[in-house]
């Protein structure tokens, strides 16, 4: 594409004319960008600016007046105050829901290792192996409200399949989704069930198939067994995939948990499955419709995600993401 390189440096055009000429030269590019640009401005940039503004107000949906409150929302959200009982969070709910979010993120490493295990299994050259790959991918295809409703039934205390299976081996299962102790593990099990055989398995599978066979041959010559060659060849060679899967999992984890909690537990019992994204929904769209405060929570969530992304950039440059 050298065709549109500067051609007429000799031409002595006046400045505005030159600018118009340049604009005409770049016009095709601008036209190609236009549809996306319009959407980007209307549905991303403008809302982003409005959101930042709202985060510093006490706006409620049904109240006409809006007051500027400075950093008031943020102080209320993440600040601490001295009370008679000592130092206490201004919004204890937020810290509890952040804890819930982090707890549910235990599912990230769990499903990552499950994906690796499945990838190792389906990487064998055996007849019919693609059938298994397809079956493992099914939950990812079905992911969404329908599957979450199914799991609501699966975890039902009396008629659910999980407790039936447990009672078959002589264990009386808990009332999973009604118990503050068991609701979170139940949600993690669902998350692992959905994600294990999905995109992450395929990323690992591609990683496995890109490992040069010479490395295994060299390991074999050095007398390495199965486990030693996994530890010294497979695992380090998969590091970029692992890094990518883990970071994306963490970033997704901070923002996640809404759909599962909404369908399976309504954030309960006693708020024990309410995540940050669910808290934003409750604050902004349910009950008091605290739009300003909801925006403030969303911006704190953004900062958390950005911190993870920056760590990712700092340590992961040039590994899994290539030039992207």
């Amino acid at each position: 594409m050298r065709a549109d390189a500067p051609t007429s440096s000799a031409a002595e055009a006046s400045a505005p004319r030159k600018r118009r000429g340049r604009f005409r030269k770049y016009l095709p590019a601008y036209l190609f960008l236009l549809p996306n640009g319009v959407g980007f401005v209307a549905f991303m940039l403008v809302p982003l600016a409005v959101s930042l503004g709202l985060a510093f107000t006490d706006w409620q949906m049904l109240r006409p007046e809006v007051r500027f409150v400075g950093f008031g929302n943020f102080v209320r959200l993440i600040g601490f105050s001295w009370t008679e009982d000592g130092l206490a969070a201004n919004d204890p709910d937020f810290w509890y829901f952040l804890f819930n979010t982090l707890f549910l993120m235990l599912g990230v490493p769990l499903s990552m290792f499950a994906s690796l295990g499945l990838a190792l299994l389906v990487n064998h050259r055996l007849p019919g192996i693609t059938v298994f790959r397809t079956l493992f991918y099914l939950p990812t295809i079905c992911n969404g409200i329908a599957v979450l409703m199914l799991w609501r039934l699966m975890f039902h205390a009396d008629v659910g399949m999980i407790n039936q299976a447990l009672s078959a081996v002589g264990i009386t299962g808990p009332d999973w989704l009604q118990s503050t102790a068991w609701a979170k593990p139940a949600l993690i099990i669902v998350a692992v069930w959905i994600a294990a055989g999905g995109n992450n398995m395929i990323i690992y599978l591609a990683g496995l198939q890109n490992i040069p066979p010479e490395l295994y041959e060299a390991a074999e010559i050095d007398g390495a067994g199965k486990w030693a060659s996994f530890r010294n060849v497979t695992w380090p060679q998969l590091a970029p995939s692992t890094f990518f899967i883990f970071t994306m999992g963490i970033i997704g984890g901070f923002q996640g948990g809404f759909n599962a909690a909404y369908i399976m537990t309504q954030g309960g019992p006693a708020g024990s499955t309410t995540t940050i994204s669910y808290y934003i929904y409750n604050t902004a769209y349910d009950g008091q419709l605290l739009m300003g405060y909801g925006c403030a929570i969303a911006w704190v969530l953004f900062l958390l995600v950005m911190a993870v992304t920056l760590v990712n950039w700092r340590f992961g440059k040039g590994s899994a993401l290539g030039d992207g």
């Binding site: 590019a29 549809p35 549905f43 809302p47 409005v50 969404g144 990683g207 994306m248 969303a298």
Partner: protein
């Protein structure tokens, strides 16, 4: 994307010994069962005759009465139509905007191109929760302001698009516009297609330019035909995510006849709390199209995940 996956270096593994193969098959079968059995139980529950306990895995003589019930008790067919409209329009729209922008970023020259590109894809890490409140606010108020400004009541009153089936307000809450428009552009789609376009040899579009093609003709006659796999991949992923989109329509839609499938289905929980066969019938109906798409387009899934993630 500068190099294709190294197909040639896939190791020729030694023959797996029979005993080991047996163990592997056994493990695979157990894991596959734990994946598939819940889904089969869903279908089985949805076709159970009344009186057969939920705890039975097999339904006995199957019945479709719960499916009929779901279609009668709720505007389920309307949910379906809404979901199809949304998914199709969003897919076509996002594909066009992403391909055009991806082409500009990959091939055309303009000042600050790469900086703009990275700034654009950096917005991918902004959680959707950040823009959701203002978007909700803008979209619900826009029709009221437009009415005031233009002195009409067009934007808040029900209109008939293509007859009764698509009746609804043109803008604002409970409109197709609110469900579709914010999803018509995508930094991810632009990123994915730009990466693919960059890998197409430049000699091909240079040849087209020499033959007198302008940028638009090169785009439609050279780049797009060569990018069918990438376009198909993006189409499938966009379709799936539009089909499953939940939170945004949950916020924007109150009217029963405007709900897409996930929101309509979620409403079952409140309405028919213990009628599990009915709920499972609804869930099954929602999943069937996805599973069909999946079985026809499997190879694009693998391609797409590698393109988007690993090879990024």
């Amino acid at each position: 994307m500068s190099e294709q996956p190294r197909r040639a270096s896939v190791p020729k593994r030694e023959q797996v010994r029979p005993i080991r193969a047996l163990v592997i098959y056994l493990a695979l079968s157990l894991l596959a069962a734990s994946t598939v059995v819940p889904l089969l139980w869903m279908v089985s529950t949805s076709v159970k005759q009344p009186g057969v306990p939920y705890t039975d895995f097999l339904p006995g003589v199957p019945t479709l009465r719960h499916y009929a019930e779901a279609l009668q008790l709720t505007p389920f067919s309307r949910y379906y139509v809404n979901s199809i409209i949304i998914a199709v329009v969003v897919t076509l729209g996002q594909l066009s905007t992403s391909a055009m922008a991806g082409y500009a970023f990959a091939r055309l020259r303009f000042p600050g191109r790469d900086k703009l590109f990275f700034a654009y894809i950096a917005t991918m890490m902004i959680p959707s929760a950040v823009t959701m409140v203002p978007l909700f606010m803008i979209l619900t108020r826009a029709p009221i302001y437009l009415n005031d400004w233009l002195g009409t009541d067009y934007f808040t009153s029900e209109q008939f698009f293509l007859g009764r089936w698509f009746a609804g307000v043109p803008l604002g809450a409970d409109s197709y516009f609110a469900l579709i428009a914010p999803l018509l552009f995508s930094p991810f789609g632009t990123f994915l297609l730009r990466q693919f376009f960059i890998a197409i040899p430049r000699s091909l579009d240079e040849a087209a330019m020499l033959d007198g093609c302008n940028a638009f003709q090169t785009f439609t006659q050279v780049i797009l035909p060569l990018s069918k796999p990438a376009l198909a991949t993006l189409a499938i992923f966009t379709f799936m995510s539009a089909w499953g989109n939940f939170l945004w329509p949950l916020i924007m839609i109150n009217a029963e006849q405007m709900k897409p499938l996930p929101v309509g289905l979620a409403g079952f929980i409140g309405e028919y709390a213990t009628n599990w066969p009915l709920m499972m019938a609804g869930a099954t109906m929602m999943l069937v199209p996805m599973i069909i798409v999946f079985f026809f387009c499997q190879r694009f899934f693998v391609k797409g995940i590698q393109l988007g993630a690993v090879k990024g």
